[in-house]
């Protein structure tokens, strides 16, 4: 059992109390972003430093600004261009000052320490051209949660202006890599989606791979080489308690939770060296065999309704994507382009499947519809692998290793393929998995 880090996650997950702020002016918004249009012009937005007794207000504004910038949907305006210096966030801003610098939306706010480590954070979002408040909320939480409050405010702004769910108040579990390439040290790690607050979950003594979040509990499933017996494990994030999933005669790998969190689907190595897919019910511990073929069947991923599973198989000669019932049985091949396809992941919206494609010596990240139509490649290069979906189904994270680079790095890309950004993580990182929106 590993007990490296527990407790601090629990405290950072403390509920953040939310209160709606009464509008200072009536809301009749003109500004919004239609993110379903083909080409999106990022919306110019001004995020002012939140008023605070110390530097915390500016730090919160900075986190919000970077979140909005990285989404590709917003163009935060440099603070040096601001004309009005907001000093009272309860007063109506001078909209003309913001219209002059083309700020279509304006964010103001304040953070106040209330004693006992308690923090009050308020923000208002303004439509500068309509001259109205679009939304306003205040939050009470522990001071150490200030970064989470910044993510929650970012989500509120994103949702109000795009009409879509946000994705900033989320975490990434991934494999942090260090040491020489022929003897890499791999540690499970968890961080905020923007690369902040990295914490390590394992010590690095054993190879660990492919962590995945539970959709319903503070738990991950991953593969660990502990004791020279590579197999699938569950790790409780709050207690650090670890157990292996089932007792199988061969290597188990490539685990993933079902959408209700009650099952883990994974590959089991067969005595002849092939691999088939099994699902294990975590309550009854019953195991169901889902594929039975003399091939490598792996990377299973459930549809969000839990009815189907997409996986990769080389049963036809090369790795291709197949869809079958969640109960197993006949599988239908869905990938037919040039090259091989691997690591399929069903979007949380259900409309797309993301994958790694290998073709012409290049590794790409792409998406296709669940029936295999509409394939689109989002990014191509020497080595891109392992996409994972943001909970709103609009962004993917994956890892990339450039030729001659020392190791892999994490990147995000949106569904247009035009907004690609490196996730700032120190050192090397691979196998990212995006959490659901935090509760």
């Amino acid at each position: 059992m590993i007990r490296i880090w527990a407790g601090s996650l629990t405290s950072s997950l403390l509920a953040v109390a939310v209160v709606l702020l009464v509008s200072i002016a009536p809301a009749r918004a003109l500004v919004e972003i239609d993110i379903n249009r083909g080409t999106i012009e990022p919306l110019p937005i001004a995020v002012t430093d939140f008023i605070s007794a110390d530097g915390l207000g500016a730090q919160i504004s900075q986190v919000i600004t970077e979140n909005l910038r990285r989404s590709g949907l917003f163009a935060p305006i440099e603070r040096t261009a601001f004309i009005e210096q907001v000093s009272n966030p309860d007063a109506v801003p001078r909209f003309q000052d913001w219209r002059v610098i083309n700020a279509q939306a304006l964010v103001t706010g304040r953070v106040t320490e209330e004693g006992g480590g308690r923090l009050r954070a308020e923000f208002r979002l303004w439509d500068t051209f309509a001259g109205e408040q679009m939304t306003g909320e205040q939050f009470f939480t522990n001071k150490e949660n200030w970064r989470r409050v910044a993510h929650i405010i970012s989500d509120a702004i994103f949702e109000r202006l795009t009409g879509e769910k946000g994705y900033f108040d989320t975490r990434i579990v991934f494999v942090a890599e260090s040491g020489p390439r022929d003897n890499r040290v791999k540690r499970l790690a968890i961080m905020d989606q923007d690369g902040a607050n990295v914490r390590y979950l394992t010590r690095g003594g054993d190879i660990v791979l492919t962590p995945r979040f539970s959709p319903s509990r503070q738990e991950i499933t991953y593969m660990d080489f502990a004791g020279g017996e590579p197999k699938v494990y569950l790790l409780q994030l709050e207690t650090g308690q670890r157990e292996h999933v089932g007792d199988f005669p061969g290597m188990t790998f490539s685990p993933r939770f079902s959408p209700d969190g009650q099952k883990v689907v994974m590959s089991l190595q067969q005595p002849d060296g092939n691999a088939n897919i099994y699902a294990m019910d975590l309550r009854s511990r019953n195991t169901t065999r889902l594929t039975n073929s003399p091939s490598i069947d792996t990377s299973p991923s459930y549809s969000p309704d839990g009815q189907r599973i997409v996986f990769e198989s080389d049963r036809g000669g090369r790795q291709q994507l197949y869809v079958m019932s969640a109960n197993g049985g006949d599988a239908t091949r869905i990938s037919f382009g040039n090259g091989s396809y691997s690591t399929p992941v069903w979007s949380p919206r259900g409309d797309l499947i993301a994958f790694t494609k290998m073709s012409g010596g290049q590794f790409s990240i792409g998406v296709m519809r669940p029936d295999g139509s509409g394939e689109r490649i989002l990014t191509t290069g020497f080595h891109n692998e392992g996409p994972t979906w943001a909970p709103n189904g609009r962004y993917l994270m994956f890892f990339r290793q450039d030729a001659g680079a020392g190791g892999p790095q994490l990147y995000t890309i949106d569904l247009t393929g035009r907004n690609e950004r490196r996730v700032p993580v120190e050192g090397f990182a691979s196998d990212p998995a995006w959490s659901p929106l935090l509760e």
Partner: protein
């Protein structure tokens, strides 16, 4: 767990020799399969039946084609020597480590390494080695021995290594 950790203590010499062989590989297009190419002489000084004897004189590893677990004819020669040696020294248990190059995806490469280890084991068993003496493990693409980003390295990483697990009682 590091690869060396599953070797028993007291075999430092063999570990050092393996490390030498690995260093040697990283710069060559084709991994040398005979002791002379390793610059170690003809294995002179290796006690027959020792780990050094196995690594240097027999050859502890074979190589595979891209995305293949077929035991090539050059590999069959080495595995035949391994089988003969293991039959001659029946007290050794072995672990066959299957590996893939880095030009594949992680999950598939774990399976591919397992397939290569299984094919290697099947060959040794077909040459009379008791299957109960042989464990297999796949490292997928996690433990390359050669770390450049072209085929000269990838071809060295698509391998199965027979690691002596120490003499049984």
């Amino acid at each position: 767990m590091g690869l060396n950790q599953i070797r028993p203590a007291g075999v430092l010499m063999a570990v050092v020799l393996t490390a030498l062989a690995i260093t040697g590989c990283a710069n060559n297009r084709n991994l040398p399969n005979n002791p002379a190419d390793l610059g170690l002489g003809a294995g002179a000084g290796a006690t027959p039946g020792s780990q050094q004897d196995f690594t240097v004189n027999v050859g502890d590893r074979i190589f595979f084609d891209t995305d293949s677990s077929v035991v090539r004819s050059d590999a069959q020669v080495i595995l035949a020597r391994q089988a003969q040696w293991l039959n001659q020294y029946p007290n050794f248990q072995v672990t066959i480590e299957g590996h893939a190059d880095e030009r594949g995806t992680r999950e598939y490469n774990l399976a591919l390494g397992a397939r290569r280890a299984a094919a290697t084991k099947a060959f040794l068993v077909s040459r009379g080695v008791n299957g109960a003496r042989i464990k297999t493990i796949s490292y997928g693409k996690e433990r390359p021995v050669a770390t450049c980003d072209d085929i000269s390295c990838w071809s060295q990483n698509r391998r199965a290594v027979t690691v002596l697990g120490g003499a049984g009682s």
